[in-house]
C-alpha cells in the first residue's frame, strides 16, 4: 500500500542551536531527507559598508573587526593592506613580522573554533569545543597582551601596528608554539580515527572540484576539494614569500576533508609563527602616515587569505578623507552559495554537519 506523503517546510533558524549565529534556512523535508534549502540572510546586517563611507580610513579599522568577529586580526590585516596598496605606504619590517604572527595566531584560533563547533554539530557534546577553547584562550591572552582586547582587536594601523609587543609576549608565544603541536596531536587522537566521525563525515556533502572553482569558493572549503589555491602562495602579500610552509589539500571535498584541511593548516600556521619569531627584527613598528589620510583618487582591490577563505577589500577613493565606496568580499558568503548543491538529498542531520563544515561567520555574511 502506498501511503500518501508530502514534503513539509521546516524553519531552521534564525534562533537554532547550530546555525552559528542568526542564519536561517527554509528547509523542505521529505521525512528526514532534505529536498530543498533556501538560505535567508540579513539578520545581522549593520550597514558596515555604508558606515565606512563616512569615516576616515583609520576609523574604518574597528569596523572591520566586526566583520568576521572570530578573526578580527586578519580583517584588520586585509583592510590595511588594501589601503597601503593604494596609498603606496610601506610598513616597517618589524610591523610586517608582527602582522604575520598575529594573522597566523588568528588562523589557529579561528580553525580551533571551526573544528570544535563542527564536532558540536556532529553531536559530540561540547567536549572538543572546550578542549580547543583551552588553546584559543592562550591565543586570546597573547592578543590581550599586545592590544588589550580579546575579541575585537583594532590592532593594525595603516603603515604598521598600534603597539609594540610587551616583553612578556615573546616568552609566552614561544611556550605556546612549542606545545601547540602536541595539542593538535591530542585533538587528532580524539577525533581523526573516530568511527562515528568517519561514518558521519566521509563522503558526506561532497563539493566537486569543478563546482568549487565555479562558485568561487576559497579557503579550506576550496582546498578540501583538491584545489591548491592559497593566496599566501598564489599571490604572496606582505612577506609570506619568506616563509617555508605547505598548503594542505583534500582529495574529494567531503566534510572530513574540510575538517582535515583545517587541522593541517593549524600545523602549518605553527610553523610560520615559529619562523617569524626567529626572524623578528628590531626597529620601528609604524610608518609615518598623514592624519587624516587622503588616498589618491582611484580604486584598489586587496585580498588576503583569511582563515575562512579569500577576504577582499575593494576601495574607491575620491581623494577625500573617507572612501567613496567600501566593499568587502566575505569568503564565507561565497562559500555558502554551495550549500544547496551539497545538502540536497541528504538527511537533516547531514544538513547541519555540512553547514557546520563550511565554517561561516554571520558577522561578515550580513555585514
Amino acid at each position: 500500500m502506498a501511503l500518501k506523503t508530502e514534503p513539509f517546510i521546516l524553519n531552521v533558524g534564525p534562533q537554532h542551536p547550530s546555525t552559528h549565529g542568526v542564519f536561517r534556512m527554509r528547509v523542505t523535508l521529505d521525512g528526514e531527507v532534505v529536498v530543498d534549502v533556501e538560505p535567508v540572510i540579513g539578520y545581522l546586517h549593520r550597514g558596515i559598508e555604508k558606515l565606512a563611507e563616512s569615516r576616515t580610513y583609520t576609523q574604518i579599522i574597528p569596523l572591520t573587526d566586526r566583520l568576521d568577529y572570530l578573526a578580527s586580526m586578519t580583517n584588520n590585516f586585509g583592510y590595511v593592506l588594501a589601503v597601503e596598496k593604494l596609498a603606496g605606504i610601506k610598513a616597517p619590517e618589524r610591523a610586517e613580522y608582527l602582522r604575520i604572527i598575529m594573522a597566523e595566531l588568528m588562523r589557529i584560533s579561528s580553525h580551533l573554533m571551526a573544528v570544535g563547533f563542527f564536532l558540536n554539530d556532529l553531536g559530540a557534546m561540547m567536549t572538543p569545543v572546550l578542549y580547543m577553547w583551552r588553546e584559543r584562550e592562550k591565543i586570546m591572552d597573547l592578543f590581550e597582551m599586545v592590544c588589550g582586547q580579546r575579541l575585537t582587536y583594532n590592532y593594525m594601523r595603516i603603515g604598521g601596528v598600534s603597539h609594540d609587543i610587551p616583553e612578556e609576549f615573546l616568552p609566552a608565544l614561544k611556550r605556546f608554539i612549542a606545545e601547540m603541536p602536541k595539542f593538535i596531536d591530542e585533538y587528532e587522537q580524539l577525533l581523526s580515527e573516530n568511527e562515528i566521525l568517519l561514518a558521519r563525515t566521509k563522503g558526506v556533502g561532497v563539493l566537486p572540484r569543478e563546482m568549487a572553482i565555479n562558485i568561487g569558493a576559497s579557503g579550506p572549503v576550496l582546498r578540501a576539494s583538491g584545489v591548491k589555491w592559497d593566496i599566501r602562495k598564489a599571490d604572496p602579500y606582505s612577506i609570506y614569500d619568506r616563509f617555508d610552509f605547505e598548503v594542505p589539500v583534500g582529495t574529494i571535498g567531503d566534510c572530513y576533508d574540510r575538517y582535515w584541511v583545517r587541522i593541517q593548516e593549524m600545523r602549518q600556521s605553527v610553523r610560520i609563527v615559529e619562523q617569524a619569531i626567529k626572524q623578528l627584527p628590531r626597529g620601528e613598528i609604524c610608518a609615518r602616515v598623514a592624519q587624516p589620510l587622503r588616498l589618491p583618487a582611484g580604486e584598489v582591490y586587496g585580498h588576503i587569505e583569511a582563515p575562512k577563505g579569500e577576504l577582499g577589500f575593494y576601495l574607491v577613493s575620491d581623494n577625500s578623507i573617507a572612501p567613496y565606496r567600501f566593499h568587502v568580499r566575505p569568503p564565507t558568503l561565497i562559500n555558502l552559495t554551495a550549500l544547496k548543491d551539497m545538502v540536497v538529498g541528504w538527511k537533516i542531520a547531514d544538513l547541519i554537519v555540512i553547514f557546520g563544515s563550511i565554517d561561516v561567520c554571520l558577522g561578515e555574511i550580513d555585514r
Binding site: 553531536g123 578542549y131 573516530n194 561514518a199 566521509k202 541528504w346 537533516i348 542531520a349
Partner: protein
Amino acid sequence: MTLIDQFRIWLSGLVPEWAAYVIAGVAGIVAILAFVLSVVIVFIWYERRLLGRFQIRLGPNRLGPEGIFQPIATAVKILLKEDIIPERADKIVHWLAPIVVFTPVLMVFAVIPLSRGAILADLNVGVLYLVAVGSVSAVGIYMAGWGSHNKYALIAAMRTVAQIVSYELPLVLSLLGVVLMVGSLSMIKIVDAQTVPFIIVQPLGFLIFFLGALAEMNRCPFDLLEADSEIVAGYHTEYSGMKFAMFYLGEYGHALAYACIITTLFLGGWRGPILPPFLWVLIKVVAVFSLIVWLRATLPRLRVDQLMAFAWRGLFPMAIINIVVVAMEVLWLVDMSKWLVVAINAVLAGGLILAWSRLFVLGRGRVEV
C-alpha cells in the same frame, strides 16, 4: 521473604489484614519514590560535575559543598517557570505525555533488588515485567512529539518509534542469554545464580545489552530524540515548567533504572565481599552510570539510518548468534565446567566483534535502509 512482606506480617498483628496490605504497599511505594528521586538528584549533580572533569572545567560548584545543592536550585527554577501549552497542541496528549514517560520509569524499580530482601515485588516473571514496562516510555515520547504541534518534536517522535522499536529486539535477545543460564525470570534468582558475574560469563550479551540500553534511554551516541544540534530539543521542545521537569527526571530515572538493571543482571547485583550489599549495588550502579557519562562526553552522534543499520545489521545478528551458542552451552556444557563456558563465550565475543568490524562497516556516505 522480602522486607515488605515482613513489614506486612508484623502490621497484621496490629491492624486488620486488608489495612496491613494497603499500608505496606503505600510504604513500599513511598520508599521507592524517595530512593529514586534522591538518587536521581544526586545523579544530576554527579553527571554535571563528572562532565565538567571530562571537559577540563569545574562544573557547578557554587551552591553548597562542591555544588551539591545545584540540582535543588535547578529544580526550584524549573518549578517556578510558566507552564506553556502551544495553542494548537493536542491538549490532552500534551498533558498526558510526561506522565506516561515518567511512570514506567518508577515502575521498573519495583523489581530491582537492592539486597536480598530489599525488593518491592519478587515477581517470578521479573525480567518479563522489566522489558514490558521499560518500553512503555516510548509511547509517552511519541505522544509528546505528536501532541506538541511542532515540527521538530514531530521529527523526534518519528525517530523515537524507529529507534526504540529496533533496539528493543537486541536488548531483549541479549537478556534471554542470561535467563537461559539461570533458568528463571526472577531477579533474585538471577543474582543468586551469579557466583561468577554474567559480564564475565557472557561478555557479548553484556555489550549488546549495554548498547541497546544506551539507545533505549536516549543517551549518546544514540541521543537522536533530543539531538540538540539538529532538532533543537526534540520531543520536549514545547515543554516547560513541571512537565519539562518530568521529562528531565524521567531521563535520569531511566538512566538509573538501566544502571540498576545492568548491575542486577550482569554485575552480580548486591554480591561482593566485605561491604554491605546495599553499598555494593550503589557502587556498581555509579560505575555503570559513570561509563554512560564517559561515552556522552566523548562520542559524536550517529545519523538515523546508521543507527538503524547498527541495530539490524550489527546488534541483532550478534544477539541471535549469542543466544544460540548460550542455548547449546546450557544444553550440553553447563554441568561440566563453568570456566569452559566462560572461555568459549570470551572467544565468541572477541571473534564476532572482530568479524563484524571487518565485514560490517558503518555505512559511510549515503545509505538506504
